[in-house]
């Protein structure tokens, strides 16, 4: 079947949810499989890196890469797929914005290794062995990927043509994106393949969001039984809906949970967290600092709240560390 367009899937620093999401396409996956020729998909199919290297540059129509870039190997694969593909798609929040793995940018390699290999209660590592890039093993030299200090989104490593947002992307979004890409009428490079408008726009609860909203105390989802018909923000739950692209079909809202912002900002916003912080600040209608502090007590983890998915790609990028290792 040489005429079918070739596509590739790859995962970098991710939880595997994005791979699941592809499988979740259920019967739709059969349409995809019928329409394309999958030339690389380590999770599901037995192809090797060398198979990709052997392909002609630009011979893959589209590579879908999920996960953030944390290691040298991930970077290498991203660059390889970039070279071999006409279109490189950042798939899911981690590839799109850095995602949850990028929250590790609050620490550096040393601190992460220290926690993961030394100090957690479940660690048994009497020799204090840490990951090495190169080590002797049974008389051979073994090489392992390098671990960067900083997690990056895919487009901080190489040029990305399109983005499919979401943690994980929903079946509808994936199917729509694939259809767009196969349809040939391609949107401008850099497009995020969802509506460019915030989630509130068609939120079923928008009418109940008051025009003058003053929040006296933010609450975390486990602290309240939220009313199912009322705007979650109005109930003090930090709903990221106003600062987050729509397209998810309000999955969280329908589950009576506030939006956590996984689709990222609209195209006009460079830093979702900063933007929403500035909006939230305007909802704290207090003059005295103590009252403001009280309201904010309900947000014990501001970075994990406002930058849950966007830290790597934001203006902040990471906690300051010198030098930023390349």
């Amino acid at each position: 079947m040489p005429d079918k367009p070739k596509v590739a899937f790859y995962w970098c620093a991710s939880c595997g949810g994005c791979e699941e999401a592809v499988v979740d396409l259920a019967e739709k996956i059969l349409d995809v499989v019928a329409a394309v020729d999958i030339v690389f998909w380590p999770v599901a199919l037995d192809f090797k890196k060398s198979d990709v290297e052997a392909m002609e540059d630009g011979s893959i129509l589209a590579s879908f890469v999920n996960g953030a870039i944390r290691t040298t190997e991930q970077e290498e694969m991203a660059l390889l797929l970039r070279r071999k593909s006409k279109v490189l798609v950042a798939f899911g929040s981690c590839a799109h914005l850095g995602g949850i793995p990028a929250l590790a940018n609050l620490w550096d390699r040393e601190a992460i290794f220290d926690t993961a290999y030394r100090t957690t209660a479940s660690t048994v590592n009497p020799e204090g062995t840490l990951p090495q890039v190169s080590l002797a093993h049974n008389g051979d030299r073994v090489h392992l990927p390098g671990f960067y200090n900083t997690v990056r989104a895919l487009d901080q490593v190489t040029e990305v043509d399109y983005y499919i947002p979401g943690c994980a992307p929903t079946p509808n979004i994936i199917a729509g994106a694939v259809e767009t890409l196969l349809g040939g009428d391609l949107p401008p490079a850099g497009t995020v393949l969802t509506p460019d408008i915030a989630l509130c726009e068609d939120c079923p609860r928008l009418d109940t969001k008051p025009q003058e909203l003053t929040i006296e105390r933010f609450r975390r989802p486990h602290e309240v039984i939220a009313d199912e018909g009322t705007c979650l923000l109005a109930q003090g739950l930090l709903c990221m809906g106003p600062a987050t692209r729509s397209g998810c079909g309000h999955l969280c809202i329908n589950g009576n949970m506030p939006c956590t912002g996984c689709f990222g900002p609209t195209s006009k916003v460079r830093d979702q967290g900063a933007k929403y912080l500035s909006a939230i600040a305007s909802m704290l209608g207090f003059e005295d600092e103590a009252a403001i502090d009280r309201a904010l007590d309900g947000i014990p983890d501001p970075v994990g709240t406002f930058y849950r998915y966007g830290l790597a790609g934001s203006l902040l990028r990471r906690r300051k560390m010198t030098p930023v290792d390349a």
């Binding site: 915030a198 509130c200 025009q211 003058e212 006009k268 500035s278 909006a279 305007s282």
Partner: protein, 660 residues
């Protein structure tokens, strides 16, 4: 990059010497040379004074000769000359908003001394501008029609003069005064310094003219409740307090006062500062405008019991002017400009107990003495003590509630002079020995020093020293002793006097903060309203179309008040007479297709410019002042602001940091 730069802009950069203001601290030649090497820069020059005619001409000629499409001037501050250079840019035939100004004076040469570093900073700032201007868009100033009517708030001499000036120019004027009569403080004086002309003789004709002027609608017992709209188109809601007299029906015969069931007044007379009593139906003073009585609801028997014989109504008879059923009413009018002339209040000397005001009966405020020396005052001009005696010695204490960190830091400007006036008048009427206790005599202004010399020659005593204490003289003489350290003699003086006059200072009105909010203007030190610029825009405020006149802006005497009122009227006239205003285009706008309708922005606008239309936010460009609040807050980035687009700001930041 903006479309009409065809990818590469043609920027003209002009670095101003500002004489030596900039050139002495910034190597302007090096800066211009550096800018010439940056991408997009077509010409880069320095000039001694860019704001001069030849400087502006330079811009114009270069635009034409070199097809410049962007202009940057690095000079003083945009608040000084942005408009100048925008005009010069427009004169060269390109949109004025392709111009951008860089401050290398206020932000650089004036605040640094190291030439090398100041020069480097100028380069950074200009580089930022070069990055930014390529994103500038052509913008248009919108025109809005102006309502020719003007409202004047406060009917003291300031408001009276402003209202008459405007009305004489043919403009419709609404004069709003909260007391039952116009006149303000000046109506309470007998004579005025430094010329000692009779206050009533010069004020009454103006008051009458206001009352009769066909172009003036005079509303007394009225206050402004709400101001909506914007420059040229204000909607002002005025609240009328009930007078219980139908103004149009009352002829001012005052027969009702005569026959009121109260044989004598029992309510302290406000106009005379409580030095006598008035009846529940009264006229504030004989020359009051309007010549209409007023009923004091708190004192009138009919209001208190509902069972008065109402002799007033009887005598008013067919004139039928009395109406006990009146209630608060409201009027909303449209005006193009507003002159705020709400005046001052005098310092309450109870706040400095050491002067004994309210404790010793013969300690008076200056305002009370103004009434005592006044021929139509409570004593018909006889200066007598509360027990009826004529004082033989009088001490006047200057700077009460002025020039004192514990009360007011400012100098009230008129107290020295009115103290001299009162010294003269009291001496003239009683022959008493008068002692002035002063810190400094402040007598600037026309005829003031001469007036001081004249009063000194009349034999009034001057003691340079701050009164530290006022206490009763031993032996029940009824006199009090003024104790002060005479700083000229270097010793403590204790002078027993029959009467003490406290020259209380001028303060902002008690409700200045409320009034400030109503008119959306600002207060400066001491609560007086802030002018837009102390030198160059002394009667304007930061809100277009709202002007200031008289003591509400700061203490001043009558000549300065009148001059300022004339200026405020002229500024208002210049605005309304032109017929339209041009709006700065630095406004915010919602990109409707991108707005999610989340409502975050709507309550934030300090000028209520944002509303919700068909589920989306809408910004009224005429109301928007470009403060940027909503732009920062819109969580989806759907609000942008002209001249402050994200690209412009990010590029500016990148530009300034490019060498960091």
């Amino acid at each position: 990059m903006s479309a009409d730069t065809n990818g590469q802009p043609r920027i003209g950069v002009y670095v101003c010497h500002c004489g030596t203001n900039i050139a002495a601290t910034v190597d302007v030649e090096a800066v211009a040379e550096y800018a010439a090497g940056l991408p997009g820069v077509t010409v880069s020059k320095t000039y001694k004074y860019m704001c001069s005619d030849p400087g502006q001409e330079l811009i114009k000629e270069d635009i034409l000769a070199n097809q410049l499409d962007r202009v940057i001037v690095a000079a003083c501050s945009p608040s000084l000359h942005e408009a100048t250079f925008r005009r010069a840019t427009a004169a060269g035939g390109i949109n004025p908003y392709y111009f951008h100004m860089v401050s290398i004076r206020e932000l650089d040469s004036w605040v640094h001394t190291d030439i090398v570093e100041a020069t480097a900073k100028a380069k950074d700032l200009i580089r930022a501008a070069i990055h930014r201007v390529r994103f500038h868009k052509p913008l248009e100033r919108a025109r809005v029609n102006v309502n020719p009517a003007v409202m004047v708030v406060g009917g003291g001499i300031a408001g009276i003069h402003a209202a008459l000036t405007l009305a004489n120019a043919g403009k419709k004027v609404y004069l709003v005064e909260r007391e039952p009569s116009i006149g303000g403080h000046m109506a309470q004086f007998d004579k005025t310094f430094p010329t000692l002309d009779c206050a009533a003789c010069i004020l009454t004709p103006k008051m009458t003219e206001v009352g009769q002027h066909p172009n003036i609608t005079l509303w007394t017992m009225a206050e402004v409740d709400k101001v909506d709209g914007y420059v040229g188109n204000y909607q002002v809601t005025v609240r009328h307090k009930p007078r219980f007299i139908i103004e149009e029906a009352c002829v001012g015969c005052m027969e009702c006062i005569e026959v009121c069931v109260f044989r004598r007044g029992k309510t302290p007379d406000e106009f005379n500062l409580g030095l006598n009593m008035r009846k529940p139906v009264y006229i504030p003073f004989p020359q009051a405008v309007p010549q209409v009585v007023v009923i004091d609801q708190d004192a009138c028997i009919e209001f208190r019991t509902g069972r008065c014989k109402k002799t007033c109504v009887e005598v008013c008879a067919e004139r039928n002017a009395i109406d006990f059923t009146q209630t608060e009413t409201f009027d909303t009018v449209e005006v193009g400009a507003i002159v705020v002339a709400t005046g001052f209040k005098t310092f309450d000397p109870r706040r400095t107990p050491s002067y004994g005001y309210g404790v010793y009966p013969n300690v008076y405020t200056a305002m009370e003495i103004e009434r005592l020396v006044n021929a139509s005052g409570p004593t018909e001009g006889h200066v007598t003590l509360r027990d009826g005696r004529t004082p033989e010695t009088v001490g006047i204490v200057h700077c009460v509630g002025s020039r004192d960190v514990n009360t007011n830091e400012h100098c009230s400007r008129v107290c020295c002079m009115y103290s001299l006036k009162l010294a003269h008048l009291v001496k003239e009427k009683t022959g008493a020995e008068i002692y002035n206790f002063y810190i400094d005599i402040r007598a600037p202004g026309k005829g003031m020093e001469e007036f001081y010399n004249r009063v000194a020659e009349e034999g009034v005593h001057f003691i340079r020293g701050k009164v530290a204490d006022v206490y009763p003289e031993a032996g029940n003489t009824g006199r009090v002793v003024l104790q002060a350290e005479d700083t000229l003699l270097g010793r403590v003086r204790k002078i027993p006097v029959d009467m003490v006059v406290l020259a209380t200072g001028l303060e902002a009105q008690a409700d200045a903060d409320e009034v400030r909010r109503t008119f959306n203007i600002t207060c400066g030190g001491g609560g007086f309203f802030m002018e837009r610029h102390p030198k160059l825009a002394p009667v304007s405020t930061f809100t277009d179309g709202i002007f200031l006149a008289g003591c509400c802006q700061g203490p001043k005497d009558i000549p300065d008040t009148v001059a300022q009122a004339g200026a405020a009227a002229a500024e208002a006239l210049a605005l309304v007479d032109k017929g339209f205003v041009e709006m700065e285009p630095n406004t915010a706008y919602v990109v409707t297709e991108e707005c999610s309708g989340c409502k975050t922005c709507i309550p934030l606008c300090p000028y209520t410019a944002i509303s919700r239309v068909d589920g989306k936010a809408y910004i009224n460009p005429v109301l928007c002042k470009g403060c940027g609040t909503c732009v920062a807050a819109c969580p989806s980035g759907s609000i942008r602001q002209n001249l402050f687009e994200d690209e412009e700001i990010y590029e500016e930041i990148l530009g300034v940091l490019a060498n960091a």
